[in-house]
């Protein structure tokens, strides 16, 4: 990852399946360490619970907070004749039409625009509503882009898209994405366009179960990836089996350590000279190898 021009940044997604395994800890450590030598942007895509900035209290906001908007319909009551075509077209159950009344639940609307197109009387027009916001920060040479879902809103994927789009405007050699937990649409949205995925697991039956699902998503999306085991120490046959069946490469492990747990409670970033250092370095080495192969390709 030497300084390059004319190359798209290497985009690396840190994900897990289970929450609380250490995604944010690893993503922040990777970003901080790599930012010593290359331009890094860290994108917090866990928009329901964005916590990477908790680890970077000195980060300073740069630029305006941008709202993420989606277009939802509004009804012109004079033009509407309650024909109901809009309600039939809506796949999200956001429109209810009764004689003389057309009600739109804008919280359920995903902004597909289908209702507006099917309305024969042009009684629906679109107006923007806020689903969330994106704010950029600077922490030394590291850029941080945080997506944040508006409390009360549920349109997670729109905010993830907004954060990725804002991030793409910030020049970088390496993009680290702190992804949401789970293995469904918020994760797939966060993995779009990623060159590599690092899944963080811990030695427990729960984590093993969720790793299987997350690894399957990564595989089906055709993204190469590796696994870091956090809080390692106890043997977990379930996790061993999940890793063996994941099709992903074991990259390293961070030992369970009471001091690390204490530092984690205070949101202190992993230190490269601490117990997590070797695993972070192993991931960076894997990324360097990937980058080298990309450049020769």
């Amino acid at each position: 990852m030497d300084n390059r021009t004319g190359f798209a940044p290497l985009r690396v997604a840190v994900a897990s399946g289970k929450g609380g395994t250490g995604k944010t800890s690893l993503a922040v450590a990777l970003a901080l360490s790599a930012s010593a030598s290359v331009r890094v942007r860290l994108v917090d895509l866990d928009v329901e619970a964005p916590d990477s900035l908790a680890y970077l209290p000195d980060a300073v906001a740069s630029g305006e907070r941008r709202t993420v908007e989606i277009a939802v319909p509004a009804v012109d009551r004079d033009a509407c004749d309650s024909c109901g075509l809009c309600a039939r077209a809506c796949r999200f159950g956001a429109i209810l039409v009764l004689p003389g009344v057309t009600q739109i639940d804008t919280n359920l609307c995903k902004g597909c625009g289908r209702c507006v197109r099917v309305c024969p009387r042009k009684a629906l027009t679109e107006r923007p509503v806020e689903a969330g916001s994106v704010q950029s920060y600077e922490h030394g040479s590291l850029s941080v882009i945080e997506g944040r879902l508006r409390p009360g809103d549920v349109r997670v994927t729109a905010v993830i898209d907004g954060a990725l789009s804002a991030a793409s405007g910030i020049p970088a050699d390496l993009e680290i994405r702190d992804c949401p937990p789970g293995a469904t649409c918020p994760l797939t949205r966060s993995l779009r366009g990623a060159d590599y995925a690092v899944l963080v697991a811990e030695p427990s039956a729960y984590s093993a179960h969720d790793l299987v699902a997350a690894a399957r998503v990564v595989r089906e999306m055709g993204i190469p990836g590796g696994i870091v085991v956090n809080k390692a120490g106890a043997s977990s046959p379930e996790l061993d089996a999940a890793i063996a069946g994941s099709g992903l490469v074991p990259l390293g492990s961070v030992p369970f350590d009471a001091d690390l747990a204490r530092e984690g409670a205070d949101a202190k970033p992993w230190r490269m000279d601490g117990p997590a250092g070797p695993a972070v370095r192993a991931v960076l080495d894997a990324l360097k190898a990937l980058e080298a192969s990309r450049r020769t390709a």
Partner: protein, 310 residues
Amino acid sequence: MKTIVVASGKGGAGKTSFAASLMAWLHGQGIQAVAADADVDAANLGLALKAGVPVERRTYIAGDAREVRAEACTGCGSCAAVCRFDAISLAAGVARIDPFSCERCGACADVCPTGAVRSVPAHAGELLRSPVAYGEALAHGELVPGEDASGKLVRQVRESAARIAGPAGLVVVDAPPGIGCPAMAAISGADLLVVLMEAGASGIRDAARLLDNAAIAKVPAVAVLNKAGLSPERDREARDLARDRALDVLGRIPFDAAFRRAAERGGTWLDSGSPGTVEAVSEACAAVAARAGLVPAISAAGATPERTLP
């Protein structure tokens, strides 16, 4: 029917372990609750409750997926132009729909001039009912990885649990992390929300975000602190947050390395074999059950049991 929901905002805060422990504690009191695993993205409650082979399976269909019949596609690009979700690309003159990005709105099929976009029912997963070691049953869902964990499946899991519990029954819901659609579907209409607050910087931020939600603010809520004692400052912040949001702290579960290792095996915290943890968890369960009106309030329960670490 009563519904107790365990939620946290942050993932890994101990929701599943606490929900399972509450089921086991109630079981010990002769109260058989129905568990609902609303964390359909990472459904682990069955592991904790030692669930058996499902006795009931129903297919869960999440609307219609769309496919392009390549032989009928002229590559005009109308579908890609109308798609608001950037899910359609043209490769070699044929449209391709990325199933991971598609929101299944159907706009592409509306505008295709040759009818090349066809609908196929999306088999998104299954709704299950399984026997458990502690309680009456577990209602849960299994999603195909990558599927939309819509609130719809969460609602169906809750409905299924409610049916099993019956009008006089009790449902314990293990909510998904976050504050989005699945979390809201899991929490809405609860009789009691237990906010499991991890006493760490991230856990406190995420619990605050959860409580910022106006809809959640209407639900009667209490707090239980988990992983307490790692940092005195964070413990204080967690208590401050609970006080600011008018939540009684009904329990304080200390961070305990030995118990953590026991929990790695699955099972509930009451099986952890760590006496301090078992006592703290039992007290928290008793206080939550008393607050929900399931057992008479005993001396400490329902107040703010203060426990200090040895």
